[in-house]
Symmetry: D2
Subunit: 337 residues, 4 copies
């Protein structure tokens, strides 16, 4: 960390700052220039609150040199992490597709879709049981019953299952879930992150609505600091000024994340735009940009879905997308296994 | 709600849409034009998922006419809600100031600050016991012990207390807290909102980092739909592209909220910018724009604070701000009681 | 256009509004509901200022049904526009690659790069003569001399040339330029747009730093309303809160634009992120999402470039990207001709 | 400027970078740490392109210590600049109000409004002759004729006049204009900025739609580097994700600008929100935050205005706002002269 102290700052205040830094167990390297004094901090600065330093009156600017995340940092863990979900691998040269309906609605529905997406090339099944909805009056998912139906679909098809956890009250219900999803709105629900990190299960961590890549990795760090090593990141679009799409899919984040972290990164093209007709082009773009996989909403009867149905595609459209992805994968040195 | 159907849409699909709408208990009013067909929905549309409708292939655009919130809507509740916290009123022509440290650090610290801010003109005491921190390695607050110290300060000074609830696990610990704060990062933690709504306590609901005014009111609606009527909204800055301030304080939101809702709205000038030297000008601006109160971080020894200290001001600076506010209040038809 | 009038509005004011609308040559269709009155406007509403209507005290909300652009609108021009630049076609099933250095530096440099990118598969040559720089102290391009060198490279290699026009003072200098670029910072320089529309040349219109898709099409409309029909849109990233990339490339805009307009749309992966190592993944993503072409910065000696050099890739890296694109094109039904 | 070089970077590349820096006339100070090498640049770094350095493969991060603007920088010019427009002073402890209609429509209209706002307390008259409109089909202002009418109003009332310059073609027409406005959409029209800087007139520089404070000051620097010293900055709202207001007024920018620059800063509450009923609260907020003045749209007959009329307030509302401002000014140590 480098701290630039304002020209003409009170010497006593500067000394206090230096004392405070060394008190945190760090060494300092001070170089005095004509217009400013630059303090270099040597040691583990991850505990230093950069906002606190920035807000001090004598501080002009402050800049981290070392990223504040450790467990998730590729610098300290150069090899790709491979997350194995029921025999299906995320990370490295693997490419995985998770598919399924937005909401679980009935046994017939979830098993029907599971079979269809498995046939079309998906390896994991997703389905919403607990649904985060902006309105308290909107359908909130089948909740416990939805989970039971998802587990049935797993038994029936052999596909590992992925679903969202919204509250620590539901942790015990998730014992048969293979990959626990933390949704965008809970990305900085820090108390939930800590408890999820102690569940002993792999976690799918979606990016928050308007969170930076660094904050996202810090949320992964929360989970990892509790002992969990198997995290898959999922880009799902960020909030911008553009009104025509619900979110703006930030595909540049994928190659950047591959540099910064060893964790696998997948893309959710369905929630990104909120428009089912954009799922195909955004899926191919996600493959081109180097994602480790996709999570796609597929529905057997979109017009009758209870929730978000229209952002879902039908099984035959999904199969068409998968067939094009299969051709693209060698171009990005990936294999679907 | 008005739905504009694309020109040349399949008649069967349009009929399906009309059937689906009437199945939700609404009436439709269809008018066919040269370039599009416009469907007006008559009745309570708050359960209709606008994103779902928007994503249908035959739909060109869709627009709500009626706001999706009811309990929080001024249309159905024209008088200002007055929230009484231990005899101090928020809303109407009242102006209230909440003050205190970012984090509770010791009995001496919290009682010392409480006495200082009370003397300077604050009516309520704030202090962080559970702290939402971006990094798992940063100080997370004194937690249970912090709450105990805050309650001691309440007993000592008679000031009602405000502090943040981060997890449903801590609800029982909050029995002596007068105003329960939901922080920005939990504004869309819907499971928490529901349980908070059943606590039987007034709630201070901060705006999320990048949430719209409508989403904010929908989160208030979550709490109100569980029976809670006493909600105070708190604007604390939103995320923009500007890097010089931590957030951009959205003061235009205050007069807009006064139109849309009957709930009181206060401003947090400390977290908005992250710079203590901006607290004074932003406080006066908040009064000018018509806020019902302020929540200000005050510290007796900013350079030694464990967290966010530097965004705090000292008691003498706080007293100067309060004295200027007192002169301004008649201009905006407010009284500090 | 649909205007929702507030409940309980003054009848005289509503009548004034209706009179004003009919005075603009439009018909009105009024339907009175319990909570609001809805006015439908029938006719050409492109001259109606939606902001003006929105700001009227009696207006609750207002919503356009018809897009405010006509010449650029696919509804009135369903077939793809094909823009022919010196025999190279943009639009339809064609895919084109424009390549060249950020700044023109010397005859040797520009001809060297032109030959290299032509060999690797580019059909058009780009190069900056007039450079828009945030700082007045930064290198502003070789200006007139740069243009002369670019024309020499055109003569030498037969490649059509593309370069940015920043001022109406330079229009006469552009007589040998094949495709006139309007940069992001001038996207809403309306006086320039009008004059460019009268130049009789095809125009490459970049998206503004923080402009919506609709504003972008309205700027195309400015050019087209002066008689120019040959416009190519170029997505180059938008401004968001994410600090790790200079801009966030908005690839969802491509398939949306293909619905809204008949004009070709290309992608600039170099300026989008400001990081040369992201050019390859973003180029493949742009192909996957359905772009009609790419504009890529290529430099023969990046470390010595005078400007933006490091966001450029070298010819051999460019050739590798082109070879992968060639394999991808059939998947998106495109051909490089 | 501080450059952090990645661990394990190729020594030859690092040497090239050091050579390139010293070639720019700067000295370097290199300190090698365990995880990175830090290069400090000593000297005038304003010509260094930070984006170029950032994009180099061996560079981890780069941070400016010195701001890239000089003429506009308070560090090199500690006293407030006072801009005198026809005897009315901006900056220091002065507070000025500019008022007038969005568009000039007729002699009667502009003179009528001028007299009304002068009586209510405005010192300068604004009025749009050339109007930047998103749509080519919208009213573009009376242009040359509008300017003539504005000059007549100046002769009639003695008020100095302010109006927007959109093209270098119109410079000669502006000889009687006292304060030349550069609008938000032209804030980075660098060729226009340079020519405006040579006009020998004071300039009112509005903030761009989505420009940072630093970019805004760099645009002021463009004008100042051509010899102009009299620049007034005008905050008018920035683009965010919030749809209820046209822009989000960034009032935190005002106290920040007072630290960074010696130039006066005023606020435009009319364009900020696009809602006339927000003009009063935002005006009082602007005074509270320490602005040097206001620019307010006032109209004598809002419902019949040709453009933006509804964001205008009437003279009697304007007079009410001014009377409240008069009471507030002593609180912020300002005087209206």
């Amino acid at each position: 960390m480098i701290i630039v102290v304002k020209k003409g700052s009170d010497k006593k205040q500067v000394d206090n700052l230096l004392k405070w830094i060394t008190h945190q167990g760090l060494k300092v390297d001070v170089s005095v220039g004509d217009n400013s004094t630059v303090i270099g901090l040597v040691g583990d600065t991850s505990k230093i609150d950069i906002d606190l330093v920035h807000s001090m009156d004598i501080v002009d600017t402050v800049k981290r040199i070392q990223e504040p995340y450790k467990c998730a940092n590729r610098k300290f863990h150069p090899e790709d992490t491979i997350v194995d979900i029921g025999g299906h691998k995320f990370g490295g040269d693997n490419f995985q597709i998770i598919a399924g309906p937005c909401s679980i609605e009935s046994e017939k529905q979830i098993i029907g879709i599971a079979e269809a997406v498995k046939k079309a090339g998906a390896n994991l099944l997703r389905g919403g049981a607990f649904k985060p909805r902006t309105s308290p009056y909107a359908f909130q998912g089948l909740r416990e019953n939805g989970l039971d139906l998802l587990v049935k679909a797993k038994q029936e098809t052999g596909m590992p299952i992925v679903t969202e956890l919204m509250s620590i009250r539901h942790i015990d219900l998730f014992k048969d879930v293979d990959l626990v999803q933390i949704g965008a709105r809970n990305m900085q629900n820090f108390e939930l992150l800590k408890e999820v990190g102690r569940m002993g299960k792999p976690v799918l961590l979606k990016r928050g609505l308007a969170n930076t890549i660094e904050e996202w990795l810090m949320s992964a760090e929360y989970i990892m600091s509790e002992g969990c090593k198997d995290i898959i990141l999922c880009e799902r679009g960020i909030r911008t000024f553009e009104p025509l799409t619900r979110n703006t899919l930030d595909l540049s984040a994928i190659p950047l994340l591959k540099e910064l972290t060893h964790l696998p990164v997948i893309v959710d093209p369905s929630h990104a735009s909120g428009l089912s007709r954009l799922v195909k082009p955004l899926s191919l773009a996600a493959v081109g940009v180097g994602a480790d996989g996709l999570m796609v909403e597929v529905h057997n009867d979109p017009p009758h879905a209870l929730c978000d149905g229209a952002q879902s595609i039908r099984p035959e459209q999904f199969a068409d997308i998968v067939s094009r992805i299969d051709i693209m994968l060698p171009l990005v040195n990936k294999v679907k296994k």
